[in-house]
């Protein structure tokens, strides 16, 4: 046993990134002069030295089999000296030095079903999460909706015809793994039924004070049932955040009849022009309708189209709405404005219209 421990390496950290940089990158590291987007999914970075690095970007489902990764490796070996990278939105990038290899690579990728694009004023890959594939918390599937939506919007991935970048994201529950809360359009899985308490299990597996403390709206209260210390949920106070479930497995929220998704708009992360913004609620609820979630796909597509037709150049979704105002956003998209849209949480008061500057 002592032997194994001695042999076992720990805390070595990841490989040093320099091992993986293509030679042209190593040589021009920090010495890039400018870039140009050559066409959808293809750009060149020109170094102070005059070196030119061509990037070809392709969409990926993120959930990849080792077979497909090996396929990417083959492509990298063939076209980019074995070098490739992934982007912060899970696209795959091939780093070429010979412009002559661009066309063959693009053709090769397309043949294999990997669209080239996602650059400049386009829709890029959709940041997303685990869903029914891996997570216990999910109110919807992740990969399935992403596939259905991207099938519909792929034309905006492979072109650059939008007024600005449009960032889509999906999270399968309110934990919001990913920058869903700051996306141009976000799809968010929501529960809509209070946790169903497993009263037999709860006293055994959960710490009552933590469960009670976990609830943002104080809907969870300690209660003695049949002589056992457990909790109850005041249902009117529950807004289905799932935080009690995160700390207590005996309080699942998933519910086929009530789970679904909500749609959020107008967030952004970059500091370009306007400060970063949170996404705001656009559509409170759409049903889970696998395998293709037609209502969700339709809603997202509609939002993209209304924005694309009306926004000015460089106006991200949120900037466009800032200009036209929320009343017109709802008019133009035809989305009904409901009670659910009005904030009633912590900062609600600041979200009210506190001037007579009304754009309607």
């Amino acid at each position: 046993m002592a032997e194994t421990v001695a042999q076992r390496k720990t805390d070595i950290g990841p490989p040093h990134y320099q091992k993986f940089l293509p030679p042209i990158v190593k040589q021009n590291y920090g010495q890039w002069r400018y870039h140009e987007i050559l066409r959808p999914g293809v750009m060149v970075h020109v170094a102070e030295s005059g070196d030119r690095l061509y990037t070809v970007r392709a969409g990926s489902p993120r959930l990849l089999s080792i077979q497909t990764i090996r396929e990417f490796c083959d492509l990298a070996d063939r076209y980019s000296g074995g070098h490739l990278r992934f982007t912060s939105r899970n696209n795959i990038e091939f780093l070429l030095t010979d412009p002559g290899t661009i066309d063959p690579l693009v053709a090769d990728l397309n043949t294999r079903g990997f669209p080239v694009g996602g650059m400049a004023n386009a829709i890029s890959n959709m940041v997303h999460t685990q869903g029914w594939v891996h997570c216990h918390s999910a109110a919807t599937d992740a990969s399935g909706i992403v596939k259905a939506v991207m099938d519909e919007l792929i034309g905006y991935f492979t072109t650059m015809k939008l007024p600005a970048k449009l960032r889509l994201a999906l999270a399968c529950c309110l934990n919001m793994c990913g920058a869903v809360h700051c996306s141009d359009i976000a799809i968010l899985g929501i529960h809509r039924r209070p946790p169903k308490i497993d009263q037999d299990r709860l006293p055994k597996v959960c710490e009552i004070p933590s469960v009670v403390a976990s609830c943002p709206t104080a809907a969870v209260r300690p209660k003695r049932i049949d002589g056992k210390e457990t909790v109850e949920v005041i249902e009117e106070r529950c807004m289905f955040c799932g935080n009690c479930y995160t700390v207590c497995p005996a309080m699942p929220l998933a519910d086929a009849l009530n789970d679904g998704v909500s749609i959020w708009v107008g967030g952004k992360v970059s500091n370009a022009r306007t400060a970063p913004m949170f996404s705001k609620l656009a559509i409170p609820y759409l049903p889970n309708n696998p395998p293709r979630w037609p209502e969700v796909v339709e809603a997202v597509k509609h939002l993209v189209e209304v924005w694309a037709a009306d926004a000015k150049k460089y106006e991200r979704m949120g900037e466009w709405i800032q200009r036209i105002g929320w009343p017109r956003f709802f008019q133009k998209t035809g989305i009904p404005f409901t009670k659910q849209h009005i904030d009633d949480f912590r900062y609600a008061g600041l979200s009210y219209q506190r001037s007579v500057h009304i754009k309607s």
Partner: protein, 403 residues
């Protein structure tokens, strides 16, 4: 047929094998050719698609010896029906900074995952890790020892420092104001212990973006966001500006009118920038990349506190240090982070992110505790309410103050 027995029938999922966008269903099916676990996944996922609920049990603490993080335990709630995925744990592998790979390195990971797991991955997880999706408890130790032999290590999970990540930065971007990859690697190595052994009130994430475009969304999802910026005037190549007008760029409308501080003027010939008003938003540089560049004195703005909504609503990071030079060994940054982590580790409540902690104790008190001077740059505006605390007051003897 043998095949039919092995790969379950998935009429719902098959619908998602169609269409132009690359399909995750195809990926699972590909993996299922070799892995019973992936075949199991097809079965259980089809069932979820029919029933509209997931079939995974809550949590489960599994891991590798001596580490507290890096593995997400996952068990099926239908183990009898789908025995191959009774266990379906995830391994989080710390990615190389900037997500650059050689095909050779990637292949070693694929080989490992063929031997020990489902053959399914995420490239990458939202935090930035290589996600190896689905294995059994007994495989964890073998995976770990092979992984470290290959030079890889686990990422974070639970209440530890999470895998730092960064934008492509100086490796391929002309706007990087500091070495995002260098910093990310350095921080990752510096915090090996804290990444692998959860010892904080909750998770803590670092993200490094080379400029205010923030291509790694650090301001929205990192407890510590390091965003490159500059001092001094934007560098202008006047000839290149003129060249743009010939390409049809409308400098007035596309650049000047969109500048948030309206500090740019265009008289049809020359572009003038009143740099003292520039808020370094990047827009003009983004639009005119061959003509404009960030100023020559580079560094970063350090921001703190972003997170997802649970419990008090989502937060964006806010300014802690308006401008810090970013050069190895990054001593100033590490000292600052060290003080913050110490304070939060000591006084943070369980499951309280540092952003929530700061709001609970007050940013002013937080600054005092970590020894930073309050600066107006840290706030969008001073307080609007008159509820000001004073720690001491004068007693009857005017010269003496009560503690």
């Amino acid at each position: 047929m043998g095949d039919e027995k092995k790969i379950p029938k998935t009429p719902k999922l098959d619908e998602l094998d169609k269409g132009p966008w690359p399909s995750f269903v195809r990926e699972i099916k590909r993996a299922a050719e070799k892995s019973p676990m992936s075949r199991g996944l097809l079965g259980v996922l089809e069932r979820s698609y029919n029933e509209k609920v997931g079939h995974w049990k809550h949590g489960g603490i599994v891991g590798v010896r001596g580490y507290g993080g890096g593995v997400i335990g996952r068990y099926s709630d239908l183990p009898e029906e789908f025995p191959d995925i009774a266990h379906f744990h995830t391994i989080r592998v710390n990615q190389p900074a900037g997500w650059f790979y050689t095909s050779a390195a990637l292949r070693t990971i694929c080989d490992l995952w063929e031997r020990h797991g489902s053959g399914l991955t995420n490239l990458h997880g939202s935090t930035g890790d290589i996600i190896l999706l689905g294995t059994r408890t007994e495989e964890l130790e073998p995976i770990f020892s092979e992984l470290t032999q290959m030079g890889f290590d686990l990422g974070g999970s639970g209440s530890d420092i999470r895998t730092p990540s960064c934008c492509v930065g100086p490796a391929r971007c002309e706007w990087a104001c500091y070495d995002t990859l260098g910093l990310t690697y350095d921080l990752t190595m510096h915090y090996q212990d804290e990444i692998h052994r959860p010892a904080f009130p909750y998770k803590f994430k670092f993200k490094a973006a080379g400029c205010p475009n923030d291509c790694v969304a650090s301001i929205a999802r990192a407890d510590l966001s390091i965003i490159g910026t500059w001092k001094g005037p934007i560098q202008v190549d006047a000839a290149a500006v003129t060249a743009y007008t010939k390409d049809g760029t409308d400098i007035q409308a596309d650049v000047c009118d969109r500048c948030p501080s309206k500090c740019m003027a265009w008289d049809g010939k020359a572009l003038t920038i009143a740099n003292e008003w520039c808020v370094r938003c990047m827009h003009c540089i983004n639009v005119l990349p061959t003509a404009l560049r960030p100023g020559p004195e580079r560094g970063a703005t350090i921001l703190v506190g972003a997170k997802a909504p649970i419990i008090q609503g989502a937060m964006l990071s806010s300014v802690l240090v308006p401008f810090m030079k970013m050069e190895p060994p990054y001593t100033a940054l590490k000292e600052l982070v060290g003080k913050m982590l110490e304070l939060w580790a000591e006084e943070g409540k369980s499951r309280e992110r540092i952003g929530e902690f700061i709001q609970r104790v007050g940013l002013g008190n937080f600054l005092e505790a970590i020894g930073l001077e309050p600066l107006p740059e840290m706030v969008a505006h001073p307080r609007e309410n008159p509820y000001v605390f004073y720690e001491e007051y004068l007693e009857e003897e005017p010269t003496e103050a009560k503690a």
